[in-house]
């Protein structure tokens, strides 16, 4: 994929037109694998370049210094480039960077399998800069050529509409009655998809003999089915679809029991704003610990027990398996967890790696107390809260209706 591409492309903007910076900056979308970097004016030191790259990757300005990670700047830039799976890295005003920065950028991009676009705002790059590249490109291309190749600006879909808060036996009918046809079609597609996935999860809830209790499995199933939601209305839609799907399989899921109130707040665990804030952290461990806490609700001591092999990657996101249940992270929030795995084991195979996921400076597994502190500090820096739905539900949240039906009929 990346190897088949030209690793480095030089784009020329001889007139230094404002349209070039504006047009290319509009293509910035980490979700689509495009990062636009605008280096700060200056001598172009390696540390400054790393900081600029991290800002392009969504980190807060000054994050390295605030998190005491200034010495790891270049390493972290490469790490986050891989973790966020950036396909195209565009560096504006690259003509102002010294040749050694071109070498550094090319090396980072090659290691991450990223296509590098260097934009020079003059007729051509200097011979020294071109010589710094291991494989100099054929020649500068007009900057507009990149617009045809880079993915278009992210088209945000319609906002999820407000949906009626009615119980699952009537939810879909109420939504059809209260929403306009286009909004209902949008809601219904998510409802039907989630319902179908919930039906497939029924066997998991009935399956005995696993380490996890029924309540823990129910919480994990709900987490998997609702974690993609980015708004309160979408959480409610997915929750009702999950209830309807399980009901079709003879299971009644009652999230209204007292101890399950955390599940009734209907707030998305990882909405877009939260993901953007978490992405601002430069420390992979802190970002991953907070992401996992918010996504799954597991406690710090359970976080400490996670191992690298518990995390598996797929196109739809990440899966984290612990204590007999599996949690899911949406693709938009997978970067931090992917980063901490890469930080621990590099690019090797993680499936057999039983190293702890969170370790201290000496390589020892972090305790629950240390992870709690890490999460608290990171949450303060990122400006997010750690509270979310718990990772368990009472066992009586799930009732097998087919057992009771025999008595009735």
């Amino acid at each position: 994929m990346a190897a088949a591409r030209a690793p480095v492309m030089v784009l020329a903007d001889p007139g230094d037109s404002p349209g070039c910076v504006a047009g290319l900056s509009a293509r910035h979308s980490l979700g689509h694998g495009v990062a636009i970097c605008l280096p700060q004016p200056g001598p172009g030191s390696a540390q400054a370049l790393a900081g600029d790259l991290l800002i392009a990757l969504g980190k807060f300005p000054g994050a390295l210094a605030a998190e005491h990670l200034s010495r790891r700047g270049r390493e972290l830039a490469g790490l986050w480039l891989r973790a966020e799976q950036v396909q195209d890295l565009v560096v504006l005003r690259a003509d102002r960077l010294p040749a050694r920065c071109w070498t550094s950028l090319a090396a980072l991009a090659a290691a991450a399998g990223t296509r590098l676009w260097l934009v020079v705002h003059r007729a051509a790059a200097s011979p020294g800069q071109l010589a710094a590249l291991a494989r100099p490109p054929a020649g500068p291309r007009p900057w507009r050529a990149a617009l045809a190749i880079l993915p278009g600006p992210g088209k945000t879909g319609p906002a999820f509409p407000a949906v009626p808060d009615v119980e699952f036996p009537l939810f879909r009918a109420a939504a059809r009655r209260l929403l306009d046809p286009a909004a209902f079609a949008y809601v219904d597609a998510i409802y039907l998809d989630t319902r179908a996935r919930a039906r497939a999860c029924a066997a998991l809830l009935r399956h005995e003999g696993t380490e996890a209790s029924v309540g823990e499995r129910a919480a994990a199933v709900l987490q998997q089915l609702t974690i993609d939601a980015a708004s309160a209305g979408e959480v409610l839609t997915r929750m009702r679809a999950a209830q309807a799907g399980l009901f079709a399989e003879g299971l009644f899921l009652d999230p209204s029991v007292h101890a399950a109130r955390g599940w009734r707040n209907n707030q998305p665990r990882l909405d877009h704003a939260t993901v953007t804030r978490l992405r601002g952290l430069a420390d992979p461990a802190a970002a991953a610990a907070i992401t996992l806490t918010r996504a799954t609700g597991i406690r710090p001591d359970q976080l400490g027990a996670l191992r690298c092999c518990d995390v598996s990657d797929s196109e739809a996101g990440l899966s984290v398996r612990t204590r007999g249940v599996t949690y899911r992270l949406p693709a938009r929030a997978a970067g931090p967890v992917r980063a901490v795995v890469l930080d621990r084991v590099g690019t090797g195979d993680v499936t057999a790696n039983r190293e702890p996921l969170f370790t201290g400076a000496a390589g020892a597994q972090l305790t629950g107390r240390q992870l709690h502190k890490l999460c608290s500090q990171g949450a303060t820096w990122a400006g997010v809260t750690l509270s979310c739905s718990p990772c368990w539900l009472p066992d009586h949240t799930v009732t097998d209706l087919r057992d009771a039906a025999r008595a009735v009929s």
Partner: protein, 340 residues
Amino acid sequence: MTSRPSRAATRRLAINWPLVEQRRIAAGLTQAQLTDRIRGGALTGRGRLWTDADHDDVPLGLLERLCRVLDLHPAELFRPPARAAHRRALASEQPPADATVLEAALATITVPAGTTGTPIGMAALAGALGWSLDRLGTAVAALTEQLTGAGTRIDADPVPAGTPIRGLRARDRYLTSDQRAALHRLRRPRPPLDAKAAEVLDVIARDPRALTECHRDLDPEVVIALQQRGIIRRHPRGDSLELTDDAQFSLAPGEGAYIPVRALTFSWRRPLTSRVVSSDILVSFHTPSRAGAGSAAGKVSGVRASLPGAMKSESDTCIMKDDHGPRFASLTSKTRAGGG
């Protein structure tokens, strides 16, 4: 000398049974309980009181008790005569503006001073009025603009039922009876659906003929609660309980209507379009008595579709489809509700 038309043909009043049924469910009574309360068992019997159209000899005392138990005005107990209905239809040709209806609705759900009300969300209010959320939003904006000059403010969500809104005109004539009943229900929050109700619902969803209100293992309160929520209903021409159309749509999307089969001829309630009439239909069926499933094809003729004799047992279920997807159908010999 002209002969006067018979009294029965011109001035006869018919009891509004759909409204009685609605109020019975709202009151949380089974048919048997209602019959006991109005002491009408000996006179009416179950089949007669609820389905017979000839009530000329029903004593006034019974009607009075019916009104009292169901909180009905005597005028509401009867369907309006044809001329009155016609007059009312003419008068309502100009529907009131949505803002006017909303004002009447807000006045209805506002609780008296000193009383704690229940917050009511926009979706619940839209559902009670039978409007879309967009329409309600537009009406709220219009009413807010109207009330600005009067110094009254409306919180959009939740509707401030906990504090009385002064300055609203309670013109409930602009509300339909359905809207009034739905708004009334909004003021009494229901407990969430529990496992006990879900068990009953599961049995009814899987086999619509399995249960009646009188089933010995059923808690009448559970059945009534499900009816009040509009999840199940009593079959119009029988005692069995079945899912409402809304519940069917929500719980079994895309699965069409499961219909117990006793006859092989189907008819549609609504007229079919010519496109559908000319198309072939396919009925897939599942027979518990025989292993596996199968299908039978037939041709629609007029509003009927005849199928080869493939299903014989009452316990057979089938789902009817044609070129345009699943369709609700009703059976001719053992008629069941359905839609086109």
